[in-house]
């Protein structure tokens, strides 16, 4: 790991981030357990986690679920093509749909001109198609592609400061 990464983070913070990007122990005192592993008091672990949240490093702390159980059995990535000048307005319109979990601007590249991406969740593929159609009307975008995932070959969480 290069020193330039997370330059303002202390070695303790980096070690804690590494541990927190894994899986927390199942005990009643998980942060005490973590502290024992790192040789730090429980209270320092708790304070550091809170400060990582406040400083914007830690976006969310908690359980990650397997989506299949959420009842949203069909997921699609929708790639949209919109004039760059309209990206902000269209991105906000797409993001406002509750069925949208992710919405990003990714500039187009030669051979693949799409520049807005949304992950949408529905109860079926038809449901996702109907949703994409109403999103296209709301955001005033006519060119888009639905990409359904047929096989998951990897789904893990990044381990930082390994």
């Amino acid at each position: 790991m290069k020193d330039t990464k997370g330059g303002t983070l202390s070695p303790e913070e980096k070690r804690l981030i590494y541990e927190l990007s894994g899986d927390l122990g199942a005990s009643a005192r998980p942060f005490k357990e973590l502290g024992q592993k790192l040789g730090l008091p429980e209270e320092q672990i708790l304070e550091t986690i809170r400060s990582l949240i406040n400083k914007g490093y830690l976006r969310r702390f908690g359980a990650t679920l397997r989506h299949q159980l959420s009842g949203f059995t069909a997921n699609a990535m929708v790639a949209w093509k919109v004039e760059e000048a309209r990206v902000d307005e269209a991105g906000q319109a797409l993001a406002s749909f509750k069925e949208v979990t992710h919405c990003y601007h990714r500039p187009g590249v030669p051979g693949w001109p799409y520049n807005l991406y949304t992950m949408i969740h529905g109860s079926s593929e038809e449901d996702c198609r109907a949703l994409a159609e109403s999103m296209s009307r709301a955001a005033d975008i006519t060119e888009y592609e639905l990409l359904f995932s047929h096989e998951e070959h990897k789904k893990t969480s990044m381990r930082y400061f390994e």
Partner: protein, 156 residues
Amino acid sequence: MTGNDILSETERAILNQIQSDYPIEARPYLVLAERLGLTETEVLETVRRLRASGVIRRIGGNFSARNLGYTSTLCAARVPEDRLKAFIAEVNQYTGVTHNYLRNHDLNVWFTFIAPSMEEIEKNLAAISEATGVRPIYNLPADKIFKIKVDFQFEE
């Protein structure tokens, strides 16, 4: 069959809390128990069961790659059927590849890549092309995030 059908009321209430409001406290399950009118043991046992049955994949932190000084991107490639297996194996050996999906499109393989720098990602993509003969591999970093909302709220 959805989570609203197969999960008990208690399980749904706990899951709604621990995705985004997991207490950063010495006894997190006691705090959850107080919020929900349960005992610490009930919450702890339920969480253990939900992990064992696979409903909960992990309990941990979700970090902002960018704020930690990392770069993340989305990559995509058109991979012929007969080279799919080798290509996926090659890509998945990188620890920075966290998601990899086969999608129903001629641009069929989509994966995310996180690394300390874009140079390192570019170098790795070139190495993957070299090893598999698949090119181009599109590198589509996000310029702007309009939304990330990953927790799921069950009916209570």
